[in-house]
Point group: C3
Chain length 144, copies 3
């Protein structure tokens, strides 16, 4: 029976406001390496309620499209109940983040994330101002 | 090597129809405590195809906004193929739930869910009538 | 202490273009059986950035409704930044897949997926042409 690994770490970075997309693959890889796990699951979670995690082809066209689509589906506005109570201008940020979701799990195989060639793990800032962000990375797997 | 824990339990509760949001954090905490796990992952899953799980700031404004946004993006209606076959008036409920998703995983650290200050785990009722709901909680982690 | 299982396998299948929905439950069951796990989590991940995984009631009406809703929310078009750079006609496919998400985890109990009676695990093709698809299945759990 091979040894089971649980390894948890945090990635920290800054975003520049709504629609800022941060690729996470290269930040996750050294955490996986340190864990020693070769097969299992890598779980990512954004701490906070106005950003999300998903996968997308990380190229400038789609990055801009993603921000535009989110704002078209759930636009900024003053009519939200959240605005009428809090007046902080980011009700749509909360709703966009709830729709896309704060969490993603990716399979780990031979010590690497199993992703498509054009598929990158990304953090999507939905808030309207630059934020300091923390993403928790939890590696669950086996050594060897 | 620390002991590995798998612990599974079910949370049961009632909802009051479309857009009813149930915070789950306080229901999950005692299950985590019983598991004995201090570091790992807590996985939540809604059994059934007309409700979803995500995170949001749980305050009355946003709770109302979330229901309104879901119904604006995917409104109730009789033109869905599902309605023409089944006439149960909840095709939009199925589609909303499929979009948001039935599942969420949250990191566990020092025996607690790692969430933001304004970030709560919530169950979102998408069905049009009150429902009895079951959410499966699976804790995977290590003791100590 | 019961034995811990990590088991990883790949499901392969073909899709027939946008909105093609492939039920995965029956393809996942034998992988779970081979793993020997009776309690834990089954994680599914679509390799590639133009398809998604979720749950829905798998019946022809809703399958058609899902494709229609995705194309209504995020329609095909030539105005996306991705199109202006790549001209491959599937910017909306990337965006739909990023919104729904490539990943799903389902609880495992008594050796079976814990799903609702009308809830099936499905792969949703968002690309505009038939594709050969691979979904990675990772079973994490305990025997007995």
């Amino acid at each position: 029976m091979s040894e089971i690994v649980f390894h948890q770490d945090v990635i920290e970075f800054s975003t520049r406001g709504h629609g800022w997309v941060t690729p996470l693959d290269e930040r996750v890889a050294p955490i996986v390496a340190r864990s020693g796990a070769v097969e299992g699951i890598v779980h990512l979670f954004n701490i906070g309620s106005t950003a999300a995690i998903t996968t997308i082809e990380y190229e400038p066209g789609l990055v801009g499209d993603l921000a535009a689509v989110l704002n078209r589906l759930i636009p900024a506005g003053r009519d939200y109940g959240h605005e009428q109570a809090w007046h902080d201008g980011n009700a749509h940020s909360h709703l966009q983040a709830a729709l896309v979701g704060p969490s993603l799990s990716i399979p780990l195989h031979d010590g690497r994330l199993l992703l498509g060639t054009w598929q990158q793990v990304v953090h999507v800032e939905c808030d309207i101002r630059p934020r300091r962000r923390r993403v928790v990375v939890t590696v669950t797997g086996r050594k060897e």
